[in-house]
Every structure is written in structure tokens, then in C-alpha cells.
Symmetry: C2
Subunit: 186 residues, 2 copies
Amino acid sequence: MAGRERRSDAVANRDRIVEAARAELSESNGAVDDLKLHKVAKAAGVGQGTLYRHFPTREHLLAEVYRHELAQLVDAVAPLLAEHPPLRALSCWMRRLVEYARVKRGVMAAIEASAWRDVHSEQHHRLDEALGTLLDQGKAAGQVRQEVDATDVVLLLGALTRLPESEWDARAPTIVTIIVDGLRPR
Amino acid sequence: MAGRERRSDAVANRDRIVEAARAELSESNGAVDDLKLHKVAKAAGVGQGTLYRHFPTREHLLAEVYRHELAQLVDAVAPLLAEHPPLRALSCWMRRLVEYARVKRGVMAAIEASAWRDVHSEQHHRLDEALGTLLDQGKAAGQVRQEVDATDVVLLLGALTRLPESEWDARAPTIVTIIVDGLRPR
DNA sequence: ACCTGAACACCGTTCAAGT
DNA sequence: ACCTGAACACCGTTCAAGT
């Protein structure tokens, strides 16, 4: 898909689909399950087959919708790691994540999808890699137990996905703290 | 619904529905989302309206299916607490949970539902209460940080729900350890 | 009081026809 | 090469008719 030239109408349609999905998501304030592909296609002014052609699964669409958000989060890792000890960097990163997801809840669902789904978007690889480095350096510094990997952390962060809007401020920080402290070796 | 007398056919139907659901779940080896209410009604030999009458939502049905399992788990708390310090008791209990859910995966989904859903089954209350006591005693003993409650723990345990069969043995123990250690104050 | 099952609603997915 | 949108499949939910 690198050198492939797309027809301009295809590109435009793709963009409109993503934009429509974004709009739809912000209306339902980020509740990923409320995103109806039917409605997205209609809102984008394209046939449903077109949506399906560009995004074979709902996850693929979501991955695209949150590509920028995920990229920003991933890019934040390296600087944090340069300035702080590994576990502290992880802790800061997660706090940033919580702040971010507070207004864009859907980004949590996108992150959770990183765990297994066959979504092999570049961002997911990069997230896995970034978290992996964070953890590896933590292990090397003796701040993180040996058995954990990025998938474990992503799975635990999934708890935030089940958090309703109204409970976010009260619980999200606690949950993150538990995860970070739990990573320490004993 | 306490003193209410039910017609015997209604009772029998209810039982058959639960049994059918159980059978269906063990075929799909506990994947809760694969449970099709349509199929359950058919397998139970009742109309769909009947299923709906007895169990207004899918969660209500699941709560009933796993009532005994949940009860056993809840009942295990008090003895553990009598024999061990609180956090150790919690750790043992979770290990038991992992062992249990290894063969009955659906029980994890039932537990996760305890967090918010409007399922006010007695078992959910009891679980919340049991975990609450565990945590309270842990706090009193200075082994558990003050801010956490049963809901936080249930949410974190939800990570196990997203764990595919094949990854269970490798990851479930790690995840539980992270949660338990993360509960400690620093 | 309880049951049945056709009917409805909703949504994801496909595909023949079109440009 | 890409798009359209009717059609299909699937499932949860309801409700008029029945016992």
C-alpha cells in the first residue's frame, strides 16, 4: 500500500468517512460501541460498501480515527524516558493518558484494541514498542518486575474503558497508581 | 418476589432456560458474547418471550447461570480472612478465582458485571461486601492503601476477561500479582 | 398467570449493477 | 478502480393471540 496511487475520489471518501466517524463519536461522547457504521456511511454521504472497502472492520476505522491521538501519546514516551527514571516516566505517561482520555474517551478503546486484535496499524506496533522500551529500561534499572510486558499493561489499562464518565475523575488516578506500583518487583 | 408463588410450569421453564444457557456457554467454552438468547430459548424449548419474561436482560440470565459459582467464591472469603492477614487472604482468593475461571471463563464476565450494571443480584452485593471487608481490614492493618474500594479491584480484574484462552496460564497470575501488590500503600 | 412464535427493529456485511 | 444501495443475515425485543 506504499507506492499505490489512489483515485482522488477514493481518498476524499476515506477522509469524509473518518471525519464523519469522529463527529459521530464526539456526539456520543466517545462511547465506541455507540458508533453505528450505518450512520457513519450515511453521514459521510457514501454507500455502505465504500465504508467497508476502506475499513474492513470497525477496529480498522477506530484505529484511523485515533491515529493522531495515539501517535501523540507514543511520541511522548521518548522525552519522558530521557528526563525521568523508567518507572517515573511510565507513571507520567499514564497520567498524561488519563488527562487525554478524559476528553477523548475513545482513545482508551483504541489502546485496548492494541492488546490482541488483528489490527496491525502502525500506531499499535509503535505503542507496543514504546511501552516495551519503557518496561525494559525499568527492568534493567530494577524498578519493574521481569515477567511483565506491554500487553499486560495494556490489559490492565483496559479497566479505564469500563469507567463511566461520572466516575473518571474519582477512579482513573487510583487505578493508574495501582498499576504502576504493582509493576514494581518485591 | 419473596412470598410469591409461581406456577410450576414457570419454574420448570426458568430452570430449563438456565440449564440451556449453561450448556450453550460450555460449548462456546464460556465466551459470554457468543451466547445467543435466540438459541438459548430454542434449546430450552420455550418461546423467546418466555426467556425475556424471566430474564429481562442478558446480564440477569448470566447472573443466574453463575449464581452458584459466585456464591462459592464469596463464601471462600471469610475463612481465608480468618487464617491469613488481609492482603494475603486477598491474594489467595484471587489465585482461587484464577483457577476457577480457568475452566469456567464466564464467571469472570459475571464478576466484571458487578462493577456497575444494574444487575442487583444478591451475589453481586455479597461479592462487593466481601471484597469490601477484605480491603477494609487490609487498610486497618496498613496493608492496603486508603483510596481503593471493591469497585476498583473488580475493574482491574476485568483485565482477565480480555485474556484469550491460550494466554490465560501465562498471563493471569502475573496480572493478579500486579493488582495485589499495587494495592499496597507506599 | 404464563406461554408461544410471528413480527419488528436494528445493524453489520455482501454483491450485482453502475460510472 | 471505485462507488452505490438494495438485499441479506443475524439477533434482540415486543406483543397479539392462545391456554
